[in-house]
């Protein structure tokens, strides 16, 4: 049986909007095992992205704990969280978020600037990541010279280049056509199956969700499905 990699215990997240208190997440408890591929679905505004941000250390819960690989990240400082993200999390965004002034290779190599790797070692890692996503021949192309699917594959290469154990995907196929979306999902599936990446993916697309091992439904800040996952 795989070990527990991510654990959320009674996590709530509130925002203040003027005088109004907005409760985005209410008492979420969840466990994700190493090597799992979890789809997170729900209507707009249900708190899916907020949950993903909490898992990725981009945001902190109002109450409750987020533990990753046995470490409680809820109380880490902003600087410590940034360091933690660099070695533990790969982000994949709906709109790829590539830097337009950098080539594909340089975009992919960005997270490696946060490591102590030498330039030649970084180059080797970048080539490996680009080969893995099938874009080794596009290394010197700028984002504007790539299709949407290619851009997303570059973004995936950037997410995996420093070999983080967890990939967090926010609508990774939301801006792509059906065929390209399937290619991207196959790639994510391969990263999960062959390379053991633990993936949590927010999506509205049931077809994309079907690639996940299991799908959780979030509605009005509460996890409503797969009761066996709720502690």
């Amino acid at each position: 049986m795989a070990r527990e990699l991510i654990r959320l215990a009674e996590v709530s997240k509130n925002y203040r909007k003027g005088r109004e208190l907005v409760r985005v997440l209410e008492g979420i408890s969840l466990a994700i095992e190493e090597g799992d591929f979890v789809g997170l679905m729900g209507p707009s505004g249900s708190g899916k992205t907020t949950l993903l941000n909490l898992l990725g250390g981009l945001d902190k819960p109002t109450s409750g704990d987020v533990e990753v690989d046995g470490r409680n990240i809820s109380n880490l400082s902003t600087g410590a969280l940034a360091k933690w993200r660099a070695s533990n999390i790969g982000f994949i965004f709906q709109f790829y978020n590539l830097l337009p002034v950098l080539t594909a290779a340089r975009n992919v190599g960005l997270p490696l600037l946060l490591t102590s790797l030498s330039a030649s070692q970084r180059k080797k890692h970048v080539n490996t990541a680009l080969q893995l996503v099938g874009l080794a021949d596009r290394a010197k192309h700028y984002p504007r010279e790539l299709s949407g699917g290619q851009e997303q594959r570059v973004a995936i290469a950037r997410a995996i280049v420093s070999d983080p154990p967890i990939l967090l995907c926010d609508e990774p196929t939301g801006d792509l056509d059906r065929a390209t979306a399937d290619e991207i999902m196959s790639l994510l599936q391969r990263l999960n199956r062959d390379y053991g990446k633990t993936i949590v993916m927010v999506t509205h697309d049931p077809r994309a969700a079907s690639f996940a091992h299991r799908v959780l439904h979030l509605d009005k800040g509460e996890l409503g499905a797969a009761p066996e996952e709720i502690h």
Binding site: L58, T78, G79, A82, L99, L110, L114
Partner: protein, 396 residues
């Protein structure tokens, strides 16, 4: 330490690479800072050019004798008898014939029409004695001939000739009731004397009915303690009440007053422009981080820290300011260095001088630009570092 330095360098390089995507805001910031630096360098170059002209005037071995309490030649006055007493006082050097090297002079103000302004301005018409030429450092007759003693003739300084009408050798010019023939043009190494017109002092006395009076006595002193000897001798003489100046010190003191005046007018203008330039830099940097909000958020999501993000934003602002500063300095250099102008000095006559854009002054201009870049970049840098990553990631 290695970590944040590398991060800052990487982020700063990214910021600078993205500059061409924001040519408008970058150009506004740069031109604001260039204007500030240009004006700053312009004002300082005016003051430094004036000081250079005045400081280059006068010899340490020439004494200037003025009536006691006079701060300018214009308000000094001697009788002919008093001038003779000074002429034969101890401490004054003598020429090969044993005659004292002295020139008793008159400093008179006449009106001439400026070539660029077309309006009348005060010009110094100096009456000298024959020794007067050799008492001036670097004196050289550059064109024509010297005036003939006893005639209404004059020689003009190079600066005066270039700034005022009617002073070409061979031309005649009327001052008051008298018509003067310009016989030649002289140079004195760019000193203040080049702003003057020289004539025979006796002719000037008769032209303006000044009797046998003089205003200043110039004398080459004999040796290192010649001026002290002269000062003591004249101080002991009951027939005189005079001050003895080193000619060099006299002009240096005069330079300070006018240069301070130029700086006092120019620096507040520069400060106001500096405040404007800070806002231009602020605007450019806020626009920069707004345009790249999602990129910056992505970088921070990937693991880049807040501090390197702030530092890189600050660096971008400083680099923009530096480029603006270099542009401003280049404009000041090409437009102003050596540009000739004239201003009313404490002698109440126009002094012609060249703007001097010196390396030191350019350095000060660049420092001013960097300060503007630093101040203008601080708030945007804080915003870049503290912006909510989660909301910026959603921006389209």
């Amino acid at each position: 330490m290695f970590g944040w330095l590398t991060q800052t360098a990487a982020l700063a390089a990214l910021n600078l690479r993205s500059l061409p995507r924001r040519p408008g805001t970058a150009a506004v910031a740069m031109s604001g800072i260039a204007a500030l630096t240009g004006v700053f360098a312009g004002v300082l170059s005016m003051a430094s050019g004036f000081e250079k002209t005045m400081d280059g005037t006068g010899r340490a071995d020439v004494a200037l004798v003025l009536r006691s309490g006079s701060t300018a030649e214009l308000n000094s006055r001697f009788t002919g008898e008093q001038a003779d007493v000074i002429r034969y006082a101890p401490g004054i050097a003598r020429d090969a014939e044993g005659e004292p090297e002295v020139s008793a002079e008159l400093f008179w103000i006449v009106n001439a029409v400026g070539k660029s302004s077309g309006t009348e301005a005060n010009v110094a018409l100096r009456g000298i004695q024959p020794t007067g030429y050799s008492l001036r450092k670097d004196y050289r007759l550059a064109e024509g001939r010297e005036f003939t003693p006893g005639r209404f003739e004059l020689v003009v300084g190079r600066g005066a000739r270039s700034q005022f009408m009617g002073l070409e050798p061979g031309q005649t010019i009327r001052f008051g009731k008298t018509e003067w023939l310009v016989t030649g043009m002289f140079e004195t190494g760019g000193s203040v004397f080049e702003s003057e017109l020289w004539c025979d002092v006796n002719v000037l006395q008769s032209a303006y009915q000044l009797g046998n009076g003089f205003q200043v006595v110039r004398a080459r002193v004999d040796g290192a303690d010649g001026r002290l000897q002269l000062e003591e001798a004249l101080g002991d003489d009951q027939r005189l009440s005079v001050d003895v100046w080193s000619e060099k010190q006299f002009y240096s003191d005069q330079a300070e007053d006018t240069a301070s005046l130029i700086n006092n007018i120019g620096l507040p203008i520069s400060i106001l422009m500096g405040i404007g330039a800070v806002f231009a830099a602020l605007n450019a940097m806020y626009a920069s981080i707004a345009a790249r909000a999602r990129e910056l958020a992505t970088l921070r999501a990937v693991g880049f820290g807040s501090f390197p993000t702030a530092l890189a934003t600050l660096l971008e602002s400083v680099v923009l300011a530096f480029l603006g500063g270099v542009l401003g300095c280049a404009i000041a250099w090409f437009a102003l260095n050596g540009f000739q102008a004239s201003t009313l000095a404490s002698s109440f006559s126009q002094v012609v001088f060249n703007f001097a854009v010196t390396p030191d002054l350019l350095g000060r201009g660049i420092v001013a630009a960097l300060i503007v870049g630093l101040v203008g970049g601080i708030f945007p840098a804080v915003r870049a570092a503290t912006a909510q990553v989660t909301s910026a990631l959603r921006e389209l």
